[in-house]
Symmetry: C2
Subunit: 328 residues, 2 copies
Amino acid sequence: MIGRREIAKMAGVSTTTVTRVLSKSGSVSPKTVEKVYNVIRETGYTWNAIASNLSKNNLSNIIALLVPDMTNYYYMEMFDSMMKAARPYSMLISIYSISNMNANEVVEEIVSNRARGIVNMGLVPLTHECMRRVDLAGIKFVHGGIRDREDCDFHIDYQEAVSAAVRHLKDTGCKKIGFLFGMKQKLLHDEKIQCFRRAMEECGYKEPDIFLGSYPNVSASVFGYEQAKKLFSDATPYDALFCLNDMMAVGVMRALMDCGKRIPEDVSVIGFDNIKLGEFFKPSVSTLCGDIIEEAKAYVQYCMGDYTPGVTVKSRFICRESVRKLET
Amino acid sequence: MIGRREIAKMAGVSTTTVTRVLSKSGSVSPKTVEKVYNVIRETGYTWNAIASNLSKNNLSNIIALLVPDMTNYYYMEMFDSMMKAARPYSMLISIYSISNMNANEVVEEIVSNRARGIVNMGLVPLTHECMRRVDLAGIKFVHGGIRDREDCDFHIDYQEAVSAAVRHLKDTGCKKIGFLFGMKQKLLHDEKIQCFRRAMEECGYKEPDIFLGSYPNVSASVFGYEQAKKLFSDATPYDALFCLNDMMAVGVMRALMDCGKRIPEDVSVIGFDNIKLGEFFKPSVSTLCGDIIEEAKAYVQYCMGDYTPGVTVKSRFICRESVRKLET
DNA sequence: CTGTTAGCGCCTTCAC
DNA sequence: GTGAAGGCGCTAACAG
């Protein structure tokens, strides 16, 4: 691959001048510009972005997105939204799948690759040692979803949506409402569950059942399917079920049908995240969500040092066919 | 961020020795190793992978995956599979969405970032100028799906699966079979369609209808939904429909239900790709697919110069609830 | 076993 | 309007 030095030599100018032409900054005579561009065209030269980053700020143009479950399409949609938000900065997003087992190693690799920022949607804890390296390398770090740093307090307030959903279930006559969650370790930090508990109390329900299990070690839809199969094969212990995410809801719904239950007549199902495919199921998946585009934008902006604190995004309850309609 | 030079100074050795310790190559006395590691621990130093790549081969550790439609979950699954295949090489995969409008610019950006390879699943043409830059930069390039280079002849043979599917439809009494495709420009290179035509002929059907439209400019499921709504709202012109991919099939299925058709009694639906969520729909989505893991592996290996030509992957027909059962 | 030197491609500072 | 020099962090070739 040809470099800036060869271009300079062939055009009979200095490397600095080539830089000036390429960056369109500083003043160069039109004639020189012309000459340099000609050589560039002839040679098929392309600018080396990584060398440039090395020389400038010692960081790459990558923002790392850490997710707990690569098979949850929601994260793919988040990835897509972040890519779009990153376009104006010509940043790349790259996804990493993390678990309690490998989180630290993955982050160390990311540090080695000098990502500009790390967005952790995984709710998995990292060692101090690891976080120290992140800091020393000058890499920004956000915990997606939860509010743990003053400088990046971006945050989705699920309360409103969850309360609306629980009220809707109550108004449509649901008596027993459960929540299908996942691994116990994540319970502590999860805002969805906190909002759910509060909403249940508000509506006068008693302490709700929350089902734990091995998600994300097994994929969400499989987990949902199996749990629902277990719960509903002989009985109908709940007439409404919240699921940690839409993927799980989809698994639950299929299991309910396989058990001969009708949705929503026998059981109402509500997920989180509003994945795009949710509308195409029959019945379509009701869901709770924030604004994924806003969220993605906030993360990218934070990583680029372009973020103004104080953003709280409202959530909404999207009421589709998987819950009973209000009688009117 | 602290560098290798500071480490060397603090440990009282040369930078080369630090390199040797870090790379575990060459011979260093245990005592020196110890000393160096101590300093590294204290300082929170991390190795800079991009500088290393710059100095070695002038390429980064990224393989670029070009897809026509970020909202098609199949590509996310491909991405995931490629990531897993890339792990042993400590390579990263990064996805780019391309269309006829932006393909060349996107590729130029990738060249600037000195990706190790480019896997183009988009079936969009690039200019000679652009391909020249790719070559000059020493970047590997594969056209996913089609067989166009001798050195990377990886290829999925859909014929067997498509023929099996068409035979199955015939055996279950389907008379009129259509194919929902997408943009006309892609027709030429598409093997699925060629296989379909051949299979239809083999089974004695007359020249089949192939529906064109604006996919991937609109998302596959929306496209499928709208086309099927148009076709089936007043009549049942087909009793079986192939769709270019599962996302499209899902849209078609929902539209059919909304038109009051029963699947598969009135219409059988078959997609391509075997996306994971296909099983959870009711009815579950029948599909045609190759082996995504094999495919992903082949692409990564090719990009790493680790590929042995001559691989053809068999495809299979996965017969689920969206097609009629054979009477037995 | 260890150190010196040069170079990867680019950018920035300073000088003319 | 232009050029020379030094540095980003790392690796490789060549000594000793």
